[in-house]
Symmetry: C2
Subunit: 552 residues, 2 copies
């Protein structure tokens, strides 16, 4: 039995969907499991990406032994380049396809030499990394080559599932390895960190194969162009589309940079099978009749610059759709993207295309297991303690409920938050501390320089725009040299109101100066308050007001 | 048979969900059917409400005979105060409850005397309004007292369904009057304007009664506080919740201004039955144990200042939730509101409450009929022509498909847009013209003054913030009097970059002046371009840059 302690510190992915990252710490060594990013929400105005807060790791960078990745999705590997650049890690462990995807990502960031890339083999011997002994267990998900990680630590054995579903008929035959999981259960699991994404949904998620069956029913009947849009990383989805295309003798054209890249990587590593002569380039599309081609594209989330969005808005250099064509959106909108996806569907429908999507056809299945699959994993592993991970609070709570129903004692179920320090030892599991684990925004080239105050300002600016009042004072005698100027952007009022505001600024300024107030900060405050009140009275709006007083 | 012409001009509600409004024009008279508003989308930064464009009606105000309303939802009546104030109409026709809701709305806007309010009676005689002869037909929906309108016009008989479902067991017994619809079909319908909201969904929408059954199963078992949140206008939903509360001897407390108002109106007019002694005030809640109360609240869309949101964030003066309580969100998030609703659910779950919502319990049904119900209406009315209304393009297209399948000839199905001028005559139906029918934004007190340019500016400001460069020139000799100032908001860079930008502004200014460039507009342009380029090089961001050059 374990006679030491292991600390588990989730640094992202709890109370949210995205930026999954967990640190394990024992005997002065740290193992980082996953390094994912999240996509900005509407209130993150202008932000490009959201990363986990690296402060905890930055303060302990010498202790980091390795980063271990469960699979190649952005919410599990997307922060890796930033982590390697800002904090560093000597090794990165992942399965072959994940490594292939990560390699290309690190190459783009010029970071290929920053860490040693090591291949994790689910069939291989356990890997010893400092005090951690790792085994990799194959799991099925919506990208190939996913693994759960079993980690023997001084505090006990921990199993981290990564993302998974219990698909008994996956496309590549690589099933969730229930045999290995049962064996781990027999050896004894002290703590399970399990994916909670679909914990609220009853029953089981349909097999990926269901989507292939839908493709086989839909595609052969069609006489026009066929366009299928899905996540760029969904290699199985691409495989199934390509299989049907080959069957009905359509050429396949892949549009969208990330999808072409992923297809190439997966093909080079043997994860996707595309017969010679199947693929054509976008420029070759015009050489074929509509019923001779199938287009695979990115943009299933309605992303503004993606292939599908450009096609929908008739703005793609190579692909257009027209009456008689069929567009299949083989994905579900991530919460927050619904309106954009609806916009794309409406545009495509307006072009005359038939649009099939998850609401009107069986063209998508989730990559995450539903409640019964979570119960299956709980039964196989029979963990002494459970810490639900990956999900909003309600999902974690639903997973906790499933664990309780599976017989895990209530005091062995940990509802942690990002930054919770969870201690595992022979005495069980408990939260002992809380460290900082906020968010880091990537905006343009800047990582972490956009702070909440900048976002608050952007929000303010976005609501009612900005009013700038420029006043000049003669330094010699402190008198106003001219009437103030008022400049408005995003405010939306006519010249009449602006004239009135200019008059008010002039009045305030003169009144201040007459009353002996000439300190610039005070003048600005008076201008801000006076003009702000008048704006609100006249318009019920509160633009940002920036008074500038220049002494000349 | 009809021997004249009627023009139908949809001014809102086509290609979108919301702001439904249609003008009918014949023999120089105009009838306006519904005057709805829409809620702003994320890109409508800072906008409070979206109204239809009234220009078409404004130019023809003398011809307007009346506004006729199908039911009391905001997307059908919300623009009425603005329409009466900006354009005017001599009469407003609506059923009793709709009139009650409208009266209170007009009263708030101080517009009660601006139009004569006339009661539409589904049991009454036809109403003649100029060349239009109207009959009202009862329809079931998620608010009581809805009607379809059959209008005999010089161009033929038009039926406008309003929003509806074919609920055979509505709560108030007021079923969709299929008998009257069949009779109209027998008399002959020349054009159907039918609700398309759920045209894409197969089968039928469950009866409103299903929600009551869910309430009866859920509520009696609970021992904690129960809170039900739904649309403030869903009188049937309130009735069903109150019925169960009475059954289990819980007092009912209504929180949220709009829900209290609607309950009062509905109760005064006899549309809701609340036994004496059932209602308690929010301040009285503390006098009762949690298992003695049921709270009805607004906020089912996660609206920022609504009762439910304030309760979820523990910021409501009278209501809080804790472990053991049950929150039922008896509504579906309108597309675009998903994240907010999820946030509220997570917060409530974190307080320890069990949260039931449409994804995990049968606590909501739609108010709109699905495909089979649309087919039923098509069968009953057997219209010669169909113009799908109320919905995004894909919904209109799905409705058109249902009409084709029902035997309506393809050239008698009109897929119109907002502003299409559709002509109905003995020769059939066709689009003959297009008039302006954009949107009008309400922002604070302003109606229509916020234009696209202001929104574009707000969007720009919201992305990367604003940089203001203030430079002063001595009017006497055109020389710079001091180094320029740079003020940043929402930009998020440190002083180092700002210092560099200030230096660049200074350099550009001196270079211009040395080169003889002293015209203020030109100087501003040079400052804008020089600083903008440097900002982008350093940060890959594009804040709005506002150069201000002041001559002193």
């Amino acid at each position: 039995m374990a006679d030491g302690i292991c600390r588990i510190i989730p640094l992202g992915g709890l109370g949210e969907v995205g930026k999954n990252m967990t640190a394990l710490e024992a005997d002065g060594s740290i193992l980082v499991v996953d390094a994912g990013l999240a996509f900005p929400r509407d209130e993150h105005l202008g932000v490009d990406l959201v990363l986990p807060d690296f402060s905890y790791l930055r303060d302990r960078r010498e202790q980091i032994r390795a980063v271990v990745l469960t699979h190649g999705h952005e919410d599990h590997v997307g922060a890796l380049p930033y982590l390697l650049r800002e904090v560093g890690a000597p090794e990165v462990w992942a399965t072959r396809l994940t490594l292939g995807l990560v390699k290309s990502k690190l190459d783009e960031h010029g970071l290929l030499r920053n860490a040693e890339l090591r291949e994790a083999d689910p069939q291989g011997e356990p890997v010893q990394l400092g005090p951690f002994r790792l085994e990799f267990v194959r799991m099925a998900h919506s990208i190939p080559d996913c693994v759960a990680i079993s980690i023997e630590t001084p505090g006990g054995r921990i199993v981290i599932t990564g993302d998974y579903k219990v698909d008994h008929t996956p496309i590549d035959g690589q099933k969730t390895d229930v045999g290995r999981l049962a064996e781990l259960g027999n050896r004894g699991v002290d703590l399970l960190l399990g994916d909670s994404t679909n914990a609220e949904r009853p029953g089981v998620t349909p097999s990926e194969r269901v989507v292939g069956e839908a493709f086989r029913q839909i595609i052969p009947q069609r006489r026009g162009r066929i366009l299928i849009s899905s996540f760029a990383s969904n290699v199985h989805r691409m495989q199934q589309a390509i299989d049907v295309a080959v069957l009905v003798r359509r050429k396949v054209c892949v549009v969208g940079r990330s999808m072409r890249k992923n297809l190439n990587i997966a093909r080079n590593l043997g994860y996707i099978d595309v017969p010679e002569g199947t693929l054509i380039k976008p420029v070759e599309l015009d050489d074929y009749r509509p019923d001779q081609v199938l287009v695979l594209s990115t943009g299933s989330q309605g992303e503004p610059l993606s292939a599908l969005t450009r096609i929908a808005y008739n703005d793609h250099p190579a692909v257009s759709v027209e009456r008689g064509d069929t567009v299949i959106i083989s994905a579900k909108p991530i919460p927050g993207n619904e309106l954009r996806v609806h916009d794309a569907i409406n545009r495509l429908a307006k072009s005359g295309a038939e649009v099939l999507h998850q609401e009107n056809a069986a063209v998508h299945v989730s990559g995450h297991g539903n409640a019964e699959e979570l119960r299956t994993i709980l039964s196989l592993l029979r963990p002494r303690a459970v810490m639900p991970v990956h999900g909003e609070f309600r999902m974690l709570a639903a997973h906790a409920q499933l664990a309780r129903e599976a017989g895990v004692p209530a005091d062995s179920i940990v509802l942690a938050e990002n930054g919770s320090v969870v201690e595992l030892s022979a005495r069980g599991v408990r939260i002992v501390d809380q460290v900082e684990a906020g968010v880091t925004f990537v905006d343009g080239l800047g990582v972490g320089d956009v702070q909440d105050v900048a976002l608050r300002d952007r929000r303010h600016l976005s609501e009612d725009g900005v009013l700038i009042i420029v006043a000049t004072l003669a330094g010699s005698n402190g008198a106003a040299t001219a009437a103030p100027e008022v400049i408005a952007r995003g405010f939306g009022e006519g010249t009449e109101v602006l004239d009135e505001l200019r008059g008010e600024a002039d009045r305030v300024l003169r009144e201040c100066l007459a009353g002996g107030v000439s300190e610039i900060k005070l003048l600005q405050e008076h201008l801000h308050d006076g003009v702000g009140q008048l704006v609100y009275d006249r318009t019920r709006r509160r633009p940002m007001i920036l008074p500038v007083v220049v002494e000349v």
